[in-house]
Structures are given as C-alpha cells and as structure tokens.
C-alpha cells in the first residue's frame, strides 16, 4: 500500500500550467478548475450550491437583462483586462436602463495551450470588478477549443438587474429640444488598446476608462428620475451611439464640436492615425438625454460624481425626418456625424 493519501489531488499549477482539452471535458480536470479557480474567486452562496443553474432571490420591480461577449485583443491593456472589461461591459448595459445590476453569469471559451497564470489573473480581475460593482457571479460555463480555433480567451457575460417603477429610460425617448450630455472624455479606451497593437508602434500614457457606471447611473436617476435615454458609447464611439438613438427615437441631433470633451493625448493619437475620436470606443462613459429644463440639474449631478467630473452638454435633439446627427464644427461650419462605415479598428471590446 502506497503511503500516498488516497484522496490527494495535485493542485493545478497556476504558475507554469496550460489549458488543455481536459479542462473543458466535463470531467475531473474541469471540476478541479472550477473549484480551485472560479469558485474561489467568485465565491457567493448561490455559486457555492454548485448546481447547473443558480437560484437567486427575485427582487421587486422589473427585471433588466443584457448579454455581451468579449473578444478583446490584447487581453491585458493599460487600465484593465478582458476580465474587468467583461464585468463592466455587461454591468453598464444593465445599468443603462436606469437599473441596479445584481447578478452576472459568465461563459468562458478557452483556447488549448492558454497559460493558466493568465487565466487566473483574468478571473481574479473579474472577481475584483464584480465586488466593486456590487454584483455576484452566480453561474458559469467553461469550454475549451483546440489550439488555433480561439484567441486565448473569449468571455460572455449576462447580467440581471432591477429597475424601479417610474423610471422609463429607453433609446426611443429622445424628444426635440432634449439636451444631450456626455459623462466625460471620449475615445480613451480605444486609443489605449490601439497603443498596444504591435504594428502601430506608438507609446502613450493613456489608460482605458473601463469602469462600472451603475453608481453614476444611480446618481443620475436620483437627480432626474425622468431622464429619457442612457447609453454607453462603446464600439463605434459617440457617433454610433447617437445615430442609434436618433434612429430609435426617429429624431435628428445637433452637436457642438467644441463642447465634446476629448483628452489632448487622445486627439493627438487619433490625429496621426487618421481616426476620429467620435468613433473610438469608450468603456467607462455614458451619454444621457433629458428634457432641456432638467439639463443643468443633470449636469450638476454628473459632475458631482467622480466618474462624471468632465461631464458636458454637447448638443440637442431636433426634428429631422432623415434622423441625421449633425455637428457645428469648431471652425464654424457644419457637417454630418454619420454611422461608422466598415470597421475603424478590429476588435477593441
């Protein structure tokens, strides 16, 4: 009889180990990964039940559900990583209904050969982001694909939240005369990501703005419960988000270019890459649209919040049968701010 303990399982080597096909097979290796990594990092009573589904308390009010898949490259960037991004992205999508985010699910698609050390770093970053956003990751799934069939890690998260009665935030509620506000500088996330692309070869101190915005949303809803629209200008940037809202609301918009906050470093990077900061992604900013008479109150509430220090009123909603977003340029002319055609950048969120 060997002196070895019968129930001993060698711990996963999170220093040098790699993801292999067994980690997604449903067998012991997968169970061990779930236990030693995910359960430990995300720990909460619902996840601890270890069922294939989570049974969670249903609070009063209307439920808000959103899902988002994250395929960012590179996986680690100044200001965040795919883990924090996958929490912030979905928490923000839920929050933009004026809601309080409560629970998240997460689905991992891992590529064979991916370093477990990196996976651990990502999972711990997700856990920290979830704690900070006051949401629980209550259920999850892991799949492994063969080497060459993924790109390290893909993460899907689905969020559930609850919105109070009387709060009616929706992209189709912009009305002529409404004020358009942004919560801060545009384009930080996209430029931070681009700075790491090997073939671009420029260095910058710009950090991604990735952040959960639910407390800012709570402050907004508190100050102006009748706020009409909230949306986070992620892929496609401010320009795309405003065009989406213009189409949903069947209105046009007029922006004032000098009023739109853009960091000088971001403007400079966009300048030599030939990009327009209005089309560059953000991960920690929002657009708010409210009645003109509420605008100053909303602006004050946003500026009083740390995530809204640079908030500004950037334009107004107008009647326009074509649903065009137009802008008064800094030079005094006017132009359209159109939908993004094609792709400005590959995969940034």
């Amino acid at each position: 009889m060997s002196p070895a303990r019968q129930d001993y399982v060698r711990p996963i080597d999170f220093k040098r180990g790699l993801v292999d096909m067994s980690h997604g097979s449903g067998g012991r290796a997968m169970a061990q990964l779930v236990e030693e990594l995910f359960l430990r990092a995300f720990d909460n009573p619902w996840l601890r039940e270890m069922n294939d589904q989570a049974r969670v308390p249903a609070p009063g009010g209307r439920l808000v559900v959103a899902t988002d898949s994250h395929v960012v490259s590179p996986l680690f960037f100044p200001g965040g990583d795919i883990g924090s991004l996958s929490v912030h992205g979905t928490v923000n999508d839920v929050a933009m209904a004026g809601a309080r985010p409560l629970y998240l699910s997460c689905g991992f698609i891992l590529e064979e050969g991916f370093p477990l050390a990196d996976l651990k770093r990502i999972v711990e970053s997700m856990a920290a982001a979830a704690t900070e956003a006051d949401v629980s990751i209550v259920t999850g799934d892991t799949k492994v694909v063969e080497k060459g069939k993924g790109d390290g890690v893909f993460i899907n998260t689905t969020g559930v939240g609850v919105v109070a009665e009387g709060v009616e935030v929706s992209g189709d509620r912009a009305r002529p005369g409404d004020a358009i506000l942004v919560s801060g500088t545009m384009g930080d996330h996209g430029v931070a990501i681009m700075s790491l692309r090997e073939n671009l070869g420029f260095e910058t101190a710009i950090c991604s703005d990735t952040a959960a915005l639910h407390t800012l949303v709570a402050a907004i809803v508190d100050a102006v419960p009748a706020v009409h629209c909230l949306r986070d200008p992620t892929r496609g940037g401010l320009a795309t988000t405003l065009n989406e809202i213009a189409r949903q609301s069947r209105r046009g918009m007029r922006l004032r270019e000098p009023a739109i906050p853009v960091r000088p470093e971001v403007a400079a990077a966009c300048e030599f890459l030939g990009l327009d900061p209005l089309y560059v992604a953000n991960e920690g900013k929002l657009v708010a649209i409210c009645a003109r008479e509420d605008a100053e109150r909303l602006l004050a509430a946003m500026r009083a919040h740390p995530q809204g220090r640079d908030a500004a009123i950037v334009g107004e909603v107008v009647e326009d049968a074509h649903h065009f977003v137009q802008m008064q340029t800094a030079l005094g002319g006017s132009r359209m701010v159109d939908w993004l055609a094609g792709e400005q950048l590959p995969r940034i969120c």
Binding site: N199, L200, P258, P264, A267, A268, E271, G274, H322, F324, Q326, Q328, T329, A330, L331, G332, G333, S334, R335, M336, D338, A341, G342
Partner: protein, 375 residues
C-alpha cells in the same frame, strides 16, 4: 494640441472667410479645383463650404490615390493574391475597392487569399523577412508622397539580397494628371468644367516642390496655390486664389511654406529617380490612358518588379455602367449627380472607388455633407 489647433482656430477662420467674402467680386463666379483628396476631406470634415460665399465654388479633383486606380489594376492585384504561396500586402484603404465580378481584395481575403493590411512599405518588407518561404508582394499605390518609401524598400530588399520580396507598382504622378485635366475637352473646348485655379497638393509638394506647377500657371494661365491639409490652410489658399484671379495673375504661390520649398525634397527625388522610371502610358480611373503619368521599376531592379516576376498582363476593365466616378474625378460631375449615389452606392456597399476612401469625393460628401442635398 500644439501645432494643430493653431490651424483649426474658429475665430481666425471667420476672419479669413470675411476677407474672402469681401474679395470675391459680386457678379462673377470663381471655380477652384482642390486637386487632393486630403483637401476634399478637410473641407467636408470642417464644413468649410459653409464659410465660403456662394460664388466661390470648389470642384473636387482626382487626387485620391485609391480612387484613380482602375478596376483592371485591382483585378490584377486579386489575381496575384490568389496565387499559391503569395502574400499580398496592401494599405487598408484599398481592400474595399470594387473589382470585377463583385470582388474586392477584402472578399478575396475572405475566400482564402493571403492579403494583409500594412501601415507602411517597411511592414511588407518585414513580413518577407519573417516568412522567407512565402512570396511577399507589396501593392504599391499613391502619388509622389508614397513613392519614396517604396523606392527605399526596394533598395533595402536588394541590399539584404531578398529573393521573396517584390513590388506591384502603381505609383502615379500629379503633374501629369493636372495637365490631362487642363487638356481635356471639357475644360478646353466645351467649357463645361470651369476651373479658375488650383489648390495645389500639400504632401505631394513636400516631395516634388512647387516648381513643377509653374508650367501650368504659365502655359494655361491658371493660378496654383499650394496649401496644407488643415482647414485654415485651405481657407487661406482660397483667399489667395481669389486675389490672383482679381488681379489677373496666374502664378504659383505657396501657402504651405512651413513644409514645401520650390525644389522639394532632393534626397527623396534622387531616391525615386534611382529606382523608378516613367511608364509610357498608364490607365487612370476616370482619366483613361494618360501618357507618362506613372512609374515602373527600372531594369536594374527587375527582380523586385512583381509584374515581371509573375508575368502579369495588363488589362483594361470598364467601370460599372451606372458609376459616375470617372466624371466625378474629372470634375465634370458632382457626387450627388450620380444616380446610384446614396442608394446602391454607399460607403458600406461601394460601387465605385470614390465611395471607398475617406478622401474620395463621394465618401466625403456622403459621410459629412449629404444632409445638404437631402432636404
């Protein structure tokens, strides 16, 4: 942003615009062609036409390197990219240009051709070094601005003794295109295109200098003002052109003196002369076959010439029947005059090259200005 914001100053723009309004005599119209797509883009992006009086009309020129590439040359590039073992490296603007049979480089890529987007000719050379078993071809396009970097990589490839790198050369020449427009029947005989002067190229002129335009000013009596790509540059150039017309002058003036000299960049010109020679004739989209308007590699560098290396044959393919890119590139028509503009042809589904590049007249008008014609 230092050295940029100064050239985008709204108050200064208003004062120049006011001077243009005062200078532009009522009762006559001024038509100026901005040759470069860079100027077209700056005018659209900053809404400059709103600042100009109605009797100062800007005509878009053919100076968009992607736009002037004919379908045949794109077809040739696709054919090359589909050969086994070939990696075709291209500037990203080219990948969506429509080719024959509903193809484009992007679609050929999706079908399996190894086409990679690069930011510079040097990136293509680096790929060739990293992948010595592949035949790496750089799809070289552009006016005089992008020609010296291509010359440089050809020389570098020779120094390194590289056997797997070549260039599919499509470099074209600005002065030939301007001469061709001035010689065209629409300008000379029919008078259907009025051109009172040119806003001269910015970046191209940093290489070739202001001297090559002196011939046009003198021979055709057309003023040329070389201008930078910032909005104030363009406004200033328009003011200078209006003054020249008013005073009956036809001279080359240099608004972009912070970057352009009369002689240009001697080293870049020498480099280009060492590697390239004139083609007898080259087909342009819109302008047709223009004599001595493009470059090819000299015999000495033949092994780096993809056309010789792969035995590629020239072909001439007409544009789509409904597409007016040709007339738009010659200044004969405006984007909104085209029947398919904004309907079948949009930046998402371009039918013609002018809708592809952000410097193209149609893409600029669609993206920034179509609300003007939508009323």
């Amino acid at each position: 942003m230092k050295y940029v914001d100064e050239f985008r100053d709204g108050a200064l723009a208003k004062s120049i615009a006011a001077r243009i309004v005062r200078a532009a005599a009522a009762g006559r119209r001024y038509h100026f062609m901005e040759f470069c797509g860079g100027h077209t883009h700056a005018m659209s992006r900053y809404g400059l036409t709103d600042l100009l009086p109605r009797n100062v009309v800007m005509v878009h020129g053919p100076g968009c390197p992607v736009c002037v590439l004919p379908v045949g040359r794109i077809d040739m590039a696709i054919e090359l990219a589909r050969r086994a073992g070939v990696v075709l490296c291209t500037y990203a603007d080219c990948v969506r240009v429509p080719a024959s049979e509903g193809l484009s480089l992007m679609k050929a890529k999706a079908q399996g051709a190894d086409i990679r987007m690069v930011y510079s000719a040097a990136d293509a050379l680096r790929i060739a070094q990293e992948e010595p078993r592949r035949e790496v071809v750089f799809f070289a396009i552009g006016f005089e601005t992008t020609t010296p970097p291509t010359a440089l990589v050809v020389k570098r490839a020779a120094e390194l003794g590289m056997a797997n790198f070549s260039v599919f050369c499509n470099h074209v020449l600005t002065p030939s295109a301007i001469a061709h427009i001035l010689e065209s029947p629409e300008v000379r005989e029919l008078g259907s295109v009025a051109i009172d002067g040119f806003v001269g190229p910015a970046h191209v002129s940093t290489v070739i200098g202001s001297q090559p335009y002196e011939y046009f000013a003198e021979e055709y009596r057309k003023p040329v003002v070389i201008a930078g790509f910032e909005p104030l540059d363009v406004l200033q150039a328009v003011e200078m052109l209006v003054c020249q017309v008013n005073e009956g002058r036809a001279e080359v003036e240099n608004e972009f003196s912070r970057a352009v000299s009369r002689e240009g960049n001697a080293r870049a010109k020498a480099l280009v002369a060492e590697v390239f020679e004139l083609r007898r004739v080259f087909e342009w989209r819109g302008l047709g076959k223009v004599p001595y308007s493009a470059l090819k590699l000299k015999e000495r560098w033949a092994q780096f010439d993809a056309e010789r290396r792969f035995g590629m044959s020239e072909r001439s393919v007409p544009d789509h029947k409904a597409c007016e890119c040709g007339a738009i590139l010659r200044g004969v028509k405006r984007p909104a005059d085209c029947r398919v503009f904004g309907t079948a042809c949009t930046p998402a589904t371009p039918m013609g090259s002018c809708m592809v590049s952000s410097e193209g007249a149609c893409a600029a008008h669609y993206t920034y200005g179509r609300y003007r014609s939508a009323a």
